[in-house]
């Protein structure tokens, strides 16, 4: 990858250079900008050619791609007042969803906002999934950005369409436009009660010039029909009948299936291949070498040996029959156990400051009472239910791919760069994503399919096995944290020192990365809402030896776990109730512009938004804590072996507090019978899906906290499948998750990610409350075996290192 495609820890739009070669939009437009600053700017274009969809998902089901169908072009009876909207003269409204659906509900929420603003009848709307095309604005569905970056754009798209239809009706009736209004798929003439259906207005509407942005009226809150209310997913029927189309469900005529043996160590290479046995497997047709990508390989494939077969079973069997001698390369000695010790040594020395207030070191040195603790979080793999799969076809110099991708434009540009073709000749179709959690924002697997389709001349589906997925991920970084705090005589925190070390995601994209940058601390470490006069939040060196990447909530996972656990330890050390202590630590209500609050090098933006637009509002942190404290029954007695834990965390511009109740069985098994959640994410367009995201975040945090961990020995991942990389199952999962979505008209924050970071700490704190065992390293695993006797012997000598 070229240097200018170096990507920071929270990804934003691709660099402008990556767009070179893209076809120019039909009309002058700023559609290909992503900055929220641009949301207010003119965003309407008269776009004629937005076809190109082959897989059409409708509310009634998905259509299988079963032939080389011609791409549907713009028809004469269709009108596209906006890049996201098309209206047919029969009144059918098509909304083009440019973001990827991976369970967060954007294929429902985005069209619902537009339909609401345009006064369309929801039953007469259909949704098409956009191909990768910069005209739609950023399609990179990560960073919890869809609504927080696009809410206004969606509203404008709907309101503009409504304004044009109203103008068309006024023109047809020859009345003042002020006398008409749109209502549920028709325009009404107020004085006479006459109506015109949308479909009959299309021909006139397309002749009317675009309204000035200022004249387009976004609905007032009391005029909204569906925005802010729960809208069920449009994909429920296909998802419950088996007709929903995910990556591996796409079939092309003559398609082959490929399974690939990839270097087991990051940066490894094939030395020799004995494919004799593989070729004997019935159905195996070809063996193809894929060149290795030198590290850091960014989004390019790892390389290896591909077995091309007539079906999936033959491909997998053939691949397993390959005998390959590997050169492990520079990471062949990576051992995550010794690496953990390296990280722990790193955080025991001062690092680069990410936030400095007062003088934490001096305050700690002078403190009467000092508390310190260290925390460890292992490598994690996304382990999304759908293993990676992608289909590609190369014909007449054109590359076409179908994939469950979070970022079709990254896929498109990466394929173009990898195959050395013009991006204009690459089309990337987006299927449903069977879970993603950040893994599918990396298009390495799609490049593999494109490469093999070109090499073999046939359409190819690359199918990753679960073991492939587990062993060749872009791992969530292993991390060590050290926290120190000073308590005064009243038990108030007077100094806060937080150091962390973890391999940086930057190391996947650039050579010689010595560790994370202070900027990475703004993902929920340097921006904590605490009222502490002396603070130092630092990052310490850590060289990457594995491919690191985004995983739902990113650094906030380990930041949130360490910080939320340490606060609980401080409360216990101060002899205070953890919830009361948390509120005291948040302190008086205040708004803090973090860019002026001692943060070092905060960059221009905060989660891609201007810092000033998202001040640290401690009242919001306080309110979510108070909400869960009140609704959870905090403080009421529980049976032996049960306990509650509380934590609050802010990430992706949202504030989330949780009280988690655990039951620790005598054998050390942890169950999470119930949890109480409060989320303040500003304006929430679809609260039902927001609640679902909080439920899911809690369950994912159960996996991260209780079960999951990737370890390396001799550079190789030791886990293989769900038997040794354990994730949460039904039995341990909550029976009640009470989610309070705070109602707000404030700037929208993220929803998909912010629930995970507080949940891990709340679970660990609940385990402490239940058992007296303080969890400082994840996963909990078997640490609680025999906890009843352990506690009797140890009587909680916490915290370690005090």
């Amino acid at each position: 990858m070229s240097a200018n495609e170096f990507l920071p820890w929270v990804r934003r739009a691709a660099a402008p250079s990556a767009r070179a070669g893209m076809p120019a939009p039909v009309a002058a437009t700023d559609e290909n900008t992503d900055s929220p600053h641009d949301l207010q700017r003119r965003a309407f274009i008269q776009l004629l050619g937005i076809g190109g969809l082959v897989i059409a998902f409708g509310p009634g089901g998905a259509r299988r791609l079963d032939a080389a169908e011609p791409l549907p072009g713009p028809a004469a009876n269709q009108w596209s007042p906006h890049v996201y909207v098309r209206v047919d003269d029969d009144g059918t409204v098509t909304i083009i969803c440019h973001r990827s659906e991976m369970g967060q509900g954007i294929r429902t929420t985005m069209p619902m906002i537009i339909a609401d603003e345009m006064e369309a009848d929801w039953a007469r709307c259909r949704v098409e999934q956009a191909v990768g095309d910069p005209r739609y604005g950023s399609q990179n569905t990560d960073g919890s950005t869809s609504i927080r970056d696009f809410l206004h754009k969606y509203r404008e798209a709907g309101a503009t369409t409504r304004a044009l239809l109203e103008a068309a009706a006024a023109s047809q009736w020859n009345v003042d436009v002020a006398e008409v209004f749109a209502r549920q798929h028709e325009v009404v003439h107020r004085p006479t009660g006459r109506t015109k259906p949308f479909g009959e207005l299309v021909a006139t509407a397309r002749t009317i010039g675009m309204p000035a942005t200022a004249s387009v009226r976004i609905k007032r809150p009391d005029e909204r029909r569906w925005q802010g209310k729960t809208m069920p997913s449009i994909d429920l029927v296909p998802m419950t009948t088996g007709t929903a189309v995910y990556g591996a469900d796409v079939t092309l005529p003559g398609m082959k299936v490929a399974a690939i043996a990839r270097p087991p160590v990051w940066g490894g290479k094939v030395v020799s291949v004995d494919d004799g046995e593989a070729r004997k497997v019935p159905g195996v047709e070809r063996i193809v070498r894929i060149p290795e990508t030198p590290i850091p390989g960014a989004f390019f494939p790892l390389g290896g040996v591909a077995v091309i077969a007539k079906n999936t079973w033959a491909a997998l069997r053939g691949r397993d029959a390959l005998k390959i001698t590997w050169d492990a390369g520079p990471n062949g000695s990576h051992d995550s156990r010794s690496y953990r010790a390296t990280l722990e040594a790193s955080v025991r020395a001062p690092g680069k400051p990410g936030r400095t207030n007062g003088d934490a070191a001096a305050a700690l040195a002078a403190a009467e009472r000092k508390v310190s603790a260290e925390y460890h979080v292992p490598y994690l793999s996304h382990a999304q239910m759908e293993p990676l799969a992608a289909v590609a076809r190369v014909q007449d110099g054109k590359v076409e791919a179908w994939a469950p991708t979070q970022s079709p434009n990254d896929a498109r540009n990466t394929i173009a760069e990898y195959l050395k073709v013009d991006a204009a000749n690459v089309t990337v179709h987006v299927t449903l994503l069977g879970g993603a959690f950040g893994r599918k924002s990396k298009p390495d697997f799609i490049c593999e399919a494109a490469f093999l389709a070109r090499e073999t001349g046939a359409p190819v589906r690359v199918q990753w096995s679960r073991e492939d997925d587990m062993r060749h991920s872009y791992y969530h970084a292993i991390a060590a944290h050290r926290l120190e705090a000073a308590l005064d005589a009243a038990g108030k925190v007077t100094a806060w020192l937080h150091r962390s070390a973890y391999p940086s995601i930057s190391a996947t994209f650039a050579p010689n990365v010595a560790g994370p940058t202070p900027d990475e601390l703004t993902n929920g470490a340097s921006d904590v809402p605490w009222d502490v006069p002396n603070m130092s939040v630092e990052v310490c060196p850590a060289v990457a030896h594995a491919r690191i990447g985004w995983y739902r909530s990113v650094n906030a996972i380990h930041h949130g776990f360490a910080i939320g656990s340490f606060v609980d330890e401080l409360a216990r050390a101060a002899g205070k109730d953890p919830a009361a202590f948390l509120l005291e630590l948040i302190g008086p209500d205040r708004k803090v512009d973090l860019s002026k609050a001692g943060l070092v090098g905060p960059g221009e933006t905060y989660y891609g938004a201007p810092w000033a637009d998202h001040p640290l509002d401690t009242a919001r942190a306080r309110r979510v804590v108070e909400s869960v404290k009140q609704r959870s029954g905090w403080g009421t007695p529980l049976a032996r072996g049960r306990g509650r834990g509380i934590a609050v965390h802010r990430s992706f511009l949202a504030y989330v507090a949780m009280v988690v109740e655990v039951e620790v069985r005598p054998d050390g098994t942890v169950l999470v019978p119930r949890a109480t959640v409060a989320v303040d994410a500003g304006y929430v367009a679809n609260p039902g899906r927001a609640r679902a995201q909080m439920e899911g975040a809690l369950v994912m945090a159960m996996s991260n906290t209780l079960y999951s961990g990737i370890t390396f020995a001799e550079g190789r991942v030791e886990q293989s499948n769900y038997n040794d990389y354990r994730v949460a199952r039904m039995r341990a999962s909550p029976h009640v998750v009470d989610v309070h979505v705070i109602e707000s008209e404030g700037a929208p924050g993220g929803i998909g990610e912010p629930g995970v970071p507080p949940a891990g700490a709340a679970i660990a704190n609940a385990i402490f409350a239940a058992t007296g065992v303080r969890v400082r390293e994840l996963p909990v695993g078997r640490q609680l075996d025999g906890w009843e006797t352990k506690v009797a012997e140890e009587v909680a000598p916490m915290p370690r290192g005090t």
């Binding site: 429920l236 029927v237 007709t243 469900d249 079973w313 999304q384 679960r466 769900y722 949460a728 199952r729």
Partner: protein, 151 residues
């Protein structure tokens, strides 16, 4: 030559007898509702009914299916209106949706034998079906809703 019935249709198979049912359904018949998630019976995404029993299709070789009756999510109900499918939609269970066909097939087998399952029976029956989106609380609620409706 193996003869079996899939969703009421008689089929014959003369390919690799070691091939698991999952790949026969997906690659040969184009029935892609059963999903590949792990290949080792750890996740339940491929759950179908074989001779009326919930079965991990990824671990069921074609050789063992002579005269077998197989039902997949596509064949669970002619119009997709099995009480579980209806409850799944009413409770808005799916997030990404990938594991849900397997979840529904597993739950359908549970309700066949235990029409009014307790929480413990639900947990025991469903513990082999993974969902990384974390829809377990809603799955439990949907099974109960479907059971109530059928009672």
């Amino acid at each position: 030559m193996i003869t079996l019935t899939v969703n009421g249709v008689r089929r014959t198979f003369d390919g690799d007898p070691t091939m698991p049912l999952l790949w026969y359904l997906r690659d040969d018949l184009g029935l892609t509702g059963a999903k590949y998630g792990c290949g080792v019976a750890q996740c339940g995404s491929c759950t179908v009914h074989v001779r009326g029993q919930p079965t991990r299709a990824c671990q069921m070789p074609m050789a063992d299916l002579q005269d077998a009756t197989v039902t997949t999510i596509e064949g669970l109900h002619p119009t997709g209106a099995h009480p579980l499918q209806v409850a799944w939609r009413e409770i808005d269970v799916p997030q990404c949706g990938f594991c849900q066909p397997g979840q529904i097939m597993q739950a359908a087998a549970l309700l066949q034998n235990t029409p009014q399952p307790t929480d413990q029976q639900i947990d025991a029956a469903m513990n082999g079906n993974l969902c990384r989106c974390g829809t377990y609380p809603r799955i439990r609620a949907a099974i109960k809703a479907a059971a109530e409706r059928s009672s």
